[in-house]
Amino acid sequence: MKHDRREFIRKAGWTFIGSGLYINLFSVGSTLAGPGSCAPQNLFAFIVDTETCIGCGKCVAACRTENSVPADNFRTWVERYTILNNGSVEVDSPHGGELGFAPVSFNKTDIQKSFFVPKLCNHCRKPNCVQVCPVGATYVSPEGFVLVDEKRCIGCSYCMQACPYSARFMNPVTHVADKCTWCYHRIRQGKTAACVQVCPVGARLLGRVDDENGPVARLLKARRLQVLKPETGNEPMVFYIGLAKEVH
């Protein structure tokens, strides 16, 4: 068989036209890109007020009961930051704060400031944990909740390593990845999250961002809010009031 340049260019041309027709006629292009390639919408945001939190740990206890969280694991927990006059930052969270906090052992005069920081899954706009899952077991729901399908999870714990907030753990009972769901089941049933409901000082708030008259949408507009580790690019959806620069 004789190969020449003219023949090669002619065949390449037909191949190009043919594959172009195939992609357009059979709508393969839109399948490759997805319908509009739209990511799920983040319809909800969580607001934590570190200026009113009293560190009673009722949120941690309620979360455990509501979601059957095994002992020594936490979907939410409360950290106490104690910043001393010499600049050192002490963080403690005994039992995740579930049993409350004992007074710190530092001299009163050595303490510059001290406060509680409740933590939970940030249900990020661009969650790393979802991107790394090799089996499609963790995903962003249509409402923007980051959830785990425990029937599909194979327990590889990639997501635990990917999460910059250490929000995930391996459930010792189900042996799959577990994390805060922002009480997805309660939200879908018209309730608020268990931790939000029991908080005695209203330091936690979960609500829609598109509800103009809702408390969350109003706070997002009116207050100066911070997020944890913005530099990771995950675009977290838990916003903090009064977060100090020492908090990480």
């Binding site: 997805g34 319908p35 390639s37 739209c38 990511a39 799920p40 200026e51 009113t52 009293i54 560190g55 009673c56 740990g57 009722k58 309620a62 009961t65 509501e66 106490r80 930051y81 104690t82 409350g100 906090f101 007074p103 710190v104 009163k108 303490i111 001290s114 406060f115 509680f116 661009k126 969650p127 979802v130 991107q131 499609g136 077991a137 963790t138 995903y139 962003v140 729901s141 249509p142 959830l147 399908d149 029937k151 599909r152 769901t181 009480c183 997805y184 089941h185 309660r186 879908r188 049933q189 309730k191 268990a194 409901q197 029991v198 908080c199 005695p200 000082v201 209203g202």
Partner: protein, 160 residues
């Protein structure tokens, strides 16, 4: 003379492999699994979200408790503890519903109250806090008697 047997055999083998793979895949992949808007963030089993949404809630809220305990609920909502929910102190409704004889006591009221009202540097300064139960009783000019708890002077539903 040319023979095409090897090509035919190979093609048949490939066809059998593709059919076998398709059958196994049809059994292994759940019906609702696939892309739900984005390969990166929403490639999952769609039924999973609805399954999770159907989980029964344990905490029901004060309105639910008020069905049977209206006096306590309205007292709570009219006083300094108005921001509290019944279940903040008493625990989840679910536990109570399984055993309605369980009085849902909060235990030793001193410990229960001190969970929020113990004096801690990390608490907001304007939040009411006491150093210890004994110190608070002394500060009020009262005598510390055996069996005395916070509830001796304060009704937890209407503390002030």
């Amino acid at each position: 003379m040319k023979t095409y047997d090897h090509i035919i055999r190979f093609t048949l083998l490939i066809i059998v492999a593709i059919i076998g793979f398709s059958i196994v895949r049809a059994y292994m992949v759940p019906d609702s699994f696939g892309m739900q808007g984005s390969y990166t963030y929403a490639y999952y089993r769609a039924e999973s979200a609805d399954e999770q949404a159907a989980l029964p809630p344990a905490y029901q809220g004060t309105e639910h408790c008020a069905d049977c305990h209206a006096p306590q609920a309205s007292m709570l909502q009219a006083n300094a503890h108005a921001q509290l929910d019944c279940e903040s102190c008493h625990g989840s409704f679910k536990a109570h519903n399984n055993n309605t004889k369980d009085r849902m006591a909060v235990g030793d009221t001193v410990d229960a109250c001190m969970l929020c009202h113990a004096d801690l540097r990390a608490r907001p300064a304007q939040f009411p806090q006491i150093e210890s139960f004994a110190a608070h009783v002394a500060q009020q000019g009262d005598e510390l008697l055996p069996g005395m708890t916070c509830a001796t002077c304060h009704d937890p539903h209407a503390p002030m």
